[in-house]
Symmetry: C2
Subunit: 190 residues, 2 copies
């Protein structure tokens, strides 16, 4: 997705060979118009599928997932990273390790909002080691839901998550796939 790649080149900050900061439009400040374009692009790539539910994880997945949901007319469910007092019992849960934050969180989705009748598209902001996507796939599997695929805003293609998931037969559509962050430069695949 050229618009997104241009934005990454213009505003992304390469903090190391593995860390790209896109806080100005995706992870802290949000560019709503770009999120709308991203939602429409996910909808285009999965236009051959009937999607009944968009599944994401708080917090940075929510904006692109909601724009996708608006485009295709499907509700969005975001997995919570910790249990609140009003989200109790009746949960699907899975453990997700974040290498960025260096911590393991339990993520949860209420059984009220995901079932064996659902055709699910999983959305997340980044794919690196694939931990978050694996947790969401695990939750969808617990629900007996069918996962049509995964939509990722920015894949770090130089890390293994995407490769391992594709080897397992998971369809992954990344809107920008990064080949390298070496020497402070963003290089994309394609």
């Amino acid at each position: 997705m050229q618009l997104l790649k241009d934005k990454i080149i213009k505003e992304g900050k390469v903090l190391s060979d593995t860390v790209l900061k896109v806080d100005s439009f995706l992870n802290h400040q949000i560019d709503p118009l770009l999120m709308k374009e991203i939602g429409e692009e996910f909808a285009n790539r999965y236009s051959n599928e009937v999607i009944t539910k968009v599944l994401t994880i708080e917090s940075s997945g929510i904006a692109p997932a909601t724009m996708l949901g608006l485009t295709i007319g499907a509700p969005v469910v975001f997995a919570r990273k910790r249990k609140s007092l009003t989200l109790s019992g009746n949960l699907y849960s899975s453990n997700v390790h974040s290498f960025t934050k260096n911590e393991t969180s339990e993520i949860s989705v209420s059984k009220d909002f995901l079932s064996e009748d659902d055709n699910v598209l999983i959305i997340d902001d980044f794919l690196a080691n694939g931990e978050a996507v694996k947790g969401l796939l695990d939750i969808a599997e617990q629900a007996g839901a069918n996962v049509v695929g995964v939509g990722i805003v920015i894949e770090k293609g130089f890390q293994q998550g995407g490769m391992l998931l594709r080897e397992q037969g998971v369809r992954i559509e990344s809107l920008a796939n990064i080949k390298s962050l070496a020497n402070g430069q963003v290089e994309f695949f394609d």
Copy 2:
């Protein structure tokens, strides 16, 4: 906002005299079309103001804030509840106590995305004791930004946050203002 009130009556679950669960469309599952209508309603109510930035807090504020940002063409910044490794230094911070979760979090916004040049509209999903809004007002004040007002999806008008903030001269627009949750029934003001 009648559409929202109807949704609350239809899908909201009154768990106690003070707790209303709206997990089916706002806090866990998200209704994207309703969020779009909510964003447009906030834009209407503040149509007399020039807003340069929408300020909210993760996670449930993100969807309505992003739809507002899309409507008025302004970027959204969501305050983070904990520091990640890529969000460090150069921060405005404030402490927020959540009575629902019974914990105090430090919320933070990067100084890169809020300044004295900004006209800010603060958005949040719920207003009860006003703790989150007070934290966001504190952060806007640290930035020297001008706050034009606050937009709340659901105000618990039977709690004191809204009254105390309005007494301090803060403009608050709530799209649904709840008078009582007694006897398992939702009663609105107006």
